[in-house]
């Protein structure tokens, strides 16, 4: 409600102002576009094609424009956040308003219209996002596949795109306007494999992966490192929301009993795999990628077996620096829940985009150059998840956590 209220204030309050009246396209375009975006049914029964969706459904179309001050400021700039948890945008906007008391008025336009699993949805969304007047940067989309599908659109429009959570290594190849903030899947996969081999002492592993860029990327990263360490991969199989997980798991046992099941999937699927695996193979442990750590979906699907799941995350709220504390407090206040790694990454990405605009002005080319220069010519700003750069040698903020009573707890294992 608070969000809806702010949207209403911003739009109605600015309608009569010259600076907004000459850019009515912002609102018409975004609202029109987003209203026209196919809405994803909020059931597991299936998406547009009628098949069940394994993924939690995000809130539908919402335009959020948080004006810090003065609609009449000609330097109103837009940062599109699409699609993601809207509360992250609220936290970021509040932080921006308080932190950047002068300079351009930065609006965060949020499109949380469903998960863009199909490429055409993401491309269409991106094609409309780029029409936003005053748009300087995009934060999103959610996940590797969605970000990868939309990246060429932003590249062609020369709009910097900060991808907060996408881990596909392909994101680093798609063009100079895409900046993935998370470590890529080869790094994450290697981290998981090292944990499996060193910490869990596993010698035999079965891998289930989501059949998209995210799942395949984690699969490749994990299996490559496991092979290097001499750990046997007994069985590999793609899975999706329609899969009969039990059958696949049973079939995998034909190749041998694994010490560890690797789940390169989103949360719901990982939970189902764990619950089924625990039933079939008592004592088996599961190691999942960052995509699985979506609470409470993961623990709900996994049930009691949830405590046997190890997950990778890029941030854990127990980190005690002031920035993290402030972020956690705001997040709790605005959402009523604890933030997870993807929230922190999205927050950092939004704050980084706003910082870039503040530092170099609302110019896409300069913002792109600023982002590219982070950690080189430009000092890397400190975010919630650590120093923010896009250098390949950036020290990954990888944390292995274990669910205990539905709460992720740090496992003492350094990347």
């Amino acid at each position: 409600m608070a969000l809806a209220f702010k949207v209403g204030v911003t739009l109605s309050g600015c309608e009569g102002v010259a600076c907004r009246s000459n850019v009515p396209g912002i609102h018409r375009a975004v609202t029109g576009v987003l209203r026209g975006t196919p809405r994803v049914p909020e059931t597991h029964g299936g998406r547009a094609a009628g098949r069940p969706s394994p993924l939690p459904v995000r809130p539908t179309i919402l335009l959020m424009a948080l004006a810090a001050a003065g609609c009449g400021d000609a330097r109103v700039v837009e940062i599109a956040y699409v699609p993601g948890e809207r509360v992250v945008a609220e936290v970021a906007q509040e932080t921006i308003t308080e932190t950047f008391r002068s300079g351009p008025v930065i609006h965060i336009t949020t499109d949380t219209a469903g998960f863009g699993d199909e490429a055409d949805v993401e491309v269409s969304r991106a094609n409309h996002i780029v029409l936003l007047p005053g748009l300087v940067a995009v934060v999103g989309h959610a996940g590797s596949r969605a970000s990868l599908a939309s990246a060429p659109v932003y590249r062609d429009a020369r709009i910097p795109q900060i991808v907060p959570t996408g881990t596909s290594r392909l994101l680093r190849q798609v063009g100079p306007y895409t900046f993935p903030l998370a470590p890529d899947d080869s790094v994450e996969g290697a981290f998981m494999a090292r944990f499996i081999a060193e910490r869990l002492g596993a010698r035999r592993v079965t891998v289930f992966y989501q059949n998209d860029e995210y799942g395949r990327g984690i699969r490749d990263g994990v299996t490559a490192e496991l092979a290097r360490r001499g750990v046997a991969v007994l069985y590999q199989s793609p899975v999706d929301g329609n899969s009969d997980v039990a059958t696949l798991l049973d079939a995998s046992l034909g190749a041998g009993r694994p010490d560890v099941i690797v789940a390169a999937t989103q949360a719901a699927l990982a939970g189902r795999l764990m619950r089924t695996g625990a039933a079939r193979l008592p004592g088996v442990r599961m190691v999942a990628g960052d995509g699985a750590l979506l609470l409470p979906a993961l623990s709900r699907e996994a049930g009691p077996a949830g405590d046997s799941i190890y997950c990778v995350t890029f941030w854990l709220r127990e980190t005690g620096d002031p920035a993290s504390r402030d972020f956690v407090e705001r997040f709790r206040r605005l959402s009523g829940r604890e933030p997870v790694g993807s929230d922190a990454m999205a927050f950092d990405a939004l704050m980084l985009a706003a910082t870039a605009v503040r530092e170099v002005g609302p110019d896409r080319a300069r913002v792109r150059h600023y982002l590219e220069a982070l950690g080189r010519e430009v000092p890397a700003p400190r975010g919630v998840t650590g120093a923010l750069t896009f250098r390949r040698d950036r020290r990954p903020a990888l944390v292995m956590v274990q669910l205990r009573d539905g709460v992720p707890r740090r496992v003492g294992f350094e990347p």
């Binding site: 998209d212 590999q236 059958t247």
Partner: protein, 650 residues
């Protein structure tokens, strides 16, 4: 003169150059705009056709290959259950290996380049392909696990997904065709638009071009045509031609310049006409003066030939003869200066030309108290040129120096010297006058440049043109101590011999004076008795038989009854003149024609007869009697030489 050099009216309004520049820029922009328009009109449609055409079929082809492989896998999956129980597991494992070997699906970023309508179908097909792959793997897993009763349901799902995949690809293919057709239509529409625009562009361009042509014709063409007509009339001799100055642009200025030029030419032509008339008058007077001078000289010589003449009278007659010859020399110089010039270049002795020039001007020196310092190098080579024109140059330079000298108090010195300098012959004329003023120095050799207050201002200009035509130049001396100094540089003839100290006179070579003309019969024809009679007396005293005639007609009658050896005829006579008589003799007495001499005081006609067969028969009045005797002896001797050569007798 000030009117000639008065400033032309300044440019006002749009100049022709500005107009030309504006038209050029306008035409350039029009053409460039046309090219840009065509490029832009085609660009979007052509790029759309080419850019998408490359990516979409490739993507579609890959997905179709993947769909075919999955279709084969579906077919293989249906063969599992009917197979022998022992073979089922093997088939299932083979199917699993096949499915895992299919590789990954299409990279998501490749869909961005696909048109929307196709992208929906293709991305949906990609998802169905992934689901189908998973469903078939599950079916294979069920077979491996021996759960055969669950397999048909799973295969049914796989079949449904396969059909959906096939349908989506068909949709994509249909959209691909439609999209291609729509882009082709867009390109065709763009082409139609461009063709229409080109037609309009050409029509508008033709109109604009026509307007520009009319404008140019009025601003440039018409004035140029008027200028051309004016120049044609001027070259035809109409110096009164004037152009209308009805505009204030460059063409107006050009017309104004033209009018001033023709004005100058007209005034110069009028002045030149006066000079020509004066020259003709002087030539006529000189001719009339020559005859009395001839008579005076002949009478004086006859008198001096009388040994009985008292001493005092002899001195007086000698004085008369000397003054007569002095006057004759001056007159002959004037006539030579005024006579028409032979345009052909010849080897010229520069020293001789300098002397002849000085003879014309030197009458001023005693009166103006000018001391002449003449130093002529004796061994100068000949130069190629026209003696009469070079004489004009030196007369001009010497006269200029004399004019300058009279403006200063005595002593007044004029120094003329010739020298050889390398392959050139240089004649310098230097005076100690006031020198060249800075005001005139820059345009010294320009037409109408004068500081004398009188004169045309053309002297130096024409002099330099004459010398340059001969391959030389007229310059101001580098090192002048005081006054002015001009240097005439002429190129020496490569194969020319050094000039003899005393040049030969014009006309035939003069033989030594004979002691006697004994037995020679001379027909002497002259209308003036005062000339004819002293000559006749002189010839008779030389022993010749002289027959006198008063004109050509009378001479022709006498030729009927006499056989003269030589005919000496005056050039200008009433009824029949000397050349006419010659023609008559050539017809009636061809042998005698070679022994006809023509006497004349009118040297102006030498030019017109110089190339005739009488060219070497002229004897200029006043002639010394001894020279006349030599010429008569000469023609007789020449004829005799010819007769001896041919075996004839005189």
């Amino acid at each position: 003169m000030s009117g000639i050099f008065a400033p032309i009216r300044p440019l006002r309004g749009l100049s022709v150059r500005t107009l030309g520049f504006a038209l050029s820029v306008g035409i350039g922009l029009y053409v460039a705009g046309f090219v840009v328009y065509v490029a832009l009109a085609f660009n979007a449609a052509a790029r759309s056709l080419s850019a998408r055409s490359a990516d979409t079929p490739t993507l579609f082809g890959e997905m179709a290959d993947r769909a075919r492989a999955l279709d084969a896998a579906v077919a293989a999956s249906h063969r599992m259950l009917p197979a022998d129980p022992g073979a089922r597991v093997a088939l299932a494992r083979a199917l699993r290996d096949t499915l895992l070997g299919l590789g990954d699906g299409v990279r998501s970023d490749r869909f961005a380049a696909v048109p929307r309508v196709m992208r929906v179908a293709l991305s949906g097909a990609d998802d169905r392909a992934a689901q189908l792959q998973t469903a078939l793997l599950e079916a294979a897993a069920l077979v491996e696990l021996g759960r055969f009763t669950q397999v048909p349901a799973r295969l049914g799902t796989a079949d449904s997904l396969g059909l959906e995949l096939e349908r989506l690809l068909a949709v994509a293919q249909r959209h691909e065709v439609q999209d291609l057709a729509s882009r082709e239509r867009a390109l065709a529409a763009a082409a139609d638009r461009v063709v229409g625009a080109v037609a309009w562009w050409l029509v508008i361009g033709a109109c604009l071009l026509g307007g520009a042509a009319v404008l140019l014709w009025r601003r440039l063409g018409q004035p140029l045509e008027a200028l051309h007509d004016g120049l044609t009339r001027v070259s035809g001799g109409d110096l009164g031609t004037r152009l209308a100055v009805d505009r204030s642009d460059e063409m107006g200025q050009l017309a104004e310049h033209f009018n001033r030029m023709t004005g100058v030419l007209q005034s110069r032509a009028e002045a030149q006409g006066q000079f020509v008339a004066a020259g003709e008058l002087i030539a006529g007077v000189a001719h009339e003066v020559n005859n009395p001078l001839m008579a005076i000289a002949a009478l004086a010589e006859n008198r001096l030939a009388d040994a009985r003449l008292p001493e005092e009278a002899r001195d007086e007659v000698t004085l008369i003869l000397r003054q007569a010859r002095r006057a004759a020399k001056l007159v002959s110089g004037l006539l030579r200066f005024l006579r028409p010039v032979d345009d052909r270049a010849a080897a010229v002795d520069v020293n001789h030309v300098v002397r002849a020039s000085l003879e014309l001007v030197s009458y001023r020196f005693p009166v103006d108290e000018i001391t002449l310092d003449l130093v002529l190098a004796p061994d100068l080579p000949l130069v190629r040129g026209q003696a009469a024109r070079l004489e004009q140059v030196f007369v001009n330079l010497i006269a200029n120096a004399a004019d300058a000298l009279v403006t200063i108090p005595a002593p007044r010195r004029l120094r003329v010297w010739s020298q050889r300098r390398g392959s050139d012959v240089v004649v310098s004329v230097e005076d100690n006058g006031p020198g060249i003023t800075p005001a005139i120095a820059e345009r010294l050799f320009h037409p109408f440049a004068t500081s004398k207050g009188h004169g045309t201002g053309l002297g130096l200009y024409i002099s330099r043109e004459i010398v340059r035509a001969a391959g030389g130049d007229v310059t101001v001396c580098d090192d002048v101590r005081a006054g002015a100094c001009f240097m005439v540089t002429l190129r020496a003839e490569a194969a020319a011999r050094p000039a003899s100290p005393e040049p030969a006179t014009a006309g035939a070579a003069v033989a030594p004076a004979p002691r006697s003309l004994e037995g020679v019969e001379v027909l002497l024809v002259d209308d003036e008795a005062v000339v004819r009679q002293p000559l006749a007396r002189f010839l008779r005293r030389m022993g010749a038989l002289v027959i006198e005639a008063r004109d050509g007609v009378e001479a022709a009658e006498l030729l009927e009854s006499h056989q003269p050896d030589v005919v000496v005829a005056d050039l200008r006579m009433p009824r029949l003149d000397g050349p006419g008589l010659y023609v008559l003799i050539r017809e009636r007495r061809p042998a005698l024609a070679a022994r006809v001499l023509i006497l004349s005081g009118d040297l102006s006609r030498f030019g017109e007869l110089a190339h005739s067969e009488l060219a070497d028969r002229f004897v200029a009045k006043p002639v010394e009697l001894a020279e006349l005797a030599s010429r008569i002896a000469g023609v007789i001797q020449a004829e005799a030489d010819v007769m001896i050569g041919t075996g004839s007798s005189v």
